[in-house]
């Protein structure tokens, strides 16, 4: 079963980390990714640019409305994600707890679901052609 692990970090705190430490953290993430590939848990992962680089897209009454940044005033923002394959929640939690940046923030582990069309379940996921 697939789970999305959303990594929430305090952006200000993250920005305050010296570059040498950030570099080491990134290296640990890349190493972690290799490990997940070997263990069969890895589906996809990305690090995200800070929320300031975001654009919010809304479509209302056929018109596209754009605003900058996420609207939430929360301290922690999504900094990256892992899409993993795991046997069950306990296994997903074990993977999530080993994410190198986990000690710096919060990892939300959310199960993925199928999309039902007329009562038939379909996987939303696709591989790029």
């Amino acid at each position: 079963m697939r789970y999305l692990c959303l990594i929430y970090l305090d952006e200000k705190a993250l920005a305050a980390i010296p570059e040498r430490e950030t570099s080491a953290l990134n290296a640990r993430h890349l190493e972690f990714n290799e490990g997940l590939l070997d263990s069969g848990h890895f589906v996809e992962a990305e690090a995200l640019q800070p929320a300031a680089a975001s654009t919010c897209v809304r479509v209302r009454n056929g018109k596209v409305a754009l605003t900058d940044g996420p609207y939430a005033e929360t301290k922690e923002m999504v900094a990256g994600f892992y899409l993993i394959e795991a046997r069950d929640l306990n296994e997903a939690i074990q993977v999530a707890s080993r994410i190198p940046s986990a000690p710096l923030g919060t990892v939300e582990v959310r199960p993925c679901r199928d999309l039902e069309v007329d009562g038939v379940a379909h996987k939303a996921s696709r591989k790029p052609r």
Binding site: R87, D88, L89, N90, Q94, P111
Partner: protein, 414 residues
Amino acid sequence: MAADSPDVRSVVDAVYRAESRRVLATLIRQLGDFDVAEEAVHEAFVAAVERWPAEGVPDNPRAWLITVGRFKAIDRLRRRSRHDVPLDDVVEQVEAIAGAAPGADEGVEDDRLRLVFTCCHPALAADAQVALTLREVCGLTTEEIARAYLVPPPTVAQRIVRAKAKIRDARIPYEVPGRGELPQRLASVLRVIYLVFNEGYLASSGESLTRHDLSAEAIRLGRLLVELLPEPEAVGLLALMLLHESRRGARTTPAGDLVLLADQDRSLWDRARIADAVRLAEGALASRRFGPYTIQAAIAAVHAEAPSAETTDWPQIVALYDALLELEPSPVVELNRAVAVAMRDGPAAGLALVDALLERGELADYHLAHSARADLRRRLGQTEGARESYRAALALARQGPERRFLERRLAELG
């Protein structure tokens, strides 16, 4: 023996009381679903009432009920299935799980542990963990849980439905955690048990007599856990609960007013319970793998063994609080330690600590912090300061007996 003869019914009732939770625990594992398993348990007991008069009571009623429950569930699944659902796979899976089980009796206690750990999974909301545990592990009805917590039954039913949905949707596995995860997961179970106990502790202050004895239920749960998993902290929690219970007879007046530990009639303490609890606490401490509950039990044991408040070994208690703070730093524990320091070194020493604590701000809304300060000020003859603190405590205290106690103390100041 006729089907509705009192003998058969009473045998089935007795078997229900003794075995229904075990049967449920195993059927949840075999059938992979809480609701399906609950229906299966119900149908199995109905079948017992129908068939045992003619067939006789089986040698192993539990095994009989598990087998019959499983067959009934598969039947039900077949009847409900739609053509596009690969039911035979499900049935095959169920039979494989059932067949793989070592034997009817072995692993049953493992199933009960699986059930406890699943109901107390940290991924479930705290109130859902409590409701689910009371329902599935303890066998309380939704109505009993609702009455015990003074919430409407639909609220409890909702919590349980949501919890089961989460178990299903997030795929929370029906398993006992591995060694690595056990300490954290056990902490979650112990928290649920202690939450239930404390709810019962409050209830017994006489405000409502129709509430289920949650404290007794928690102790029963604690004993079950120790039986299934004799971890030192589980033993420590059981000891702590028994020690609290041992003082039940002494902690309120007939009118329902609070009697402080220092003022309690110690002849009303349940010495048998205390002896039992002290033995358990000593065992847990000896293991050297104990945690916060065990230390709290040790503190309660020191109180329990003191012939009077004055002869209590306060240095020992302060030392235990020091150990507790190292494991689990918390302002409330610091407050309790300050009270003990006051007993060991005099009220001035205690007051200095309480003042510093309240200065930090975390306990500003905690009525017991203000009432502790009030008491220490009173003992030092600082009457105006004591009055101010009793008033602050009263502004925050919610329970009737506690309020009456504070009002009395305030009045005594003149």
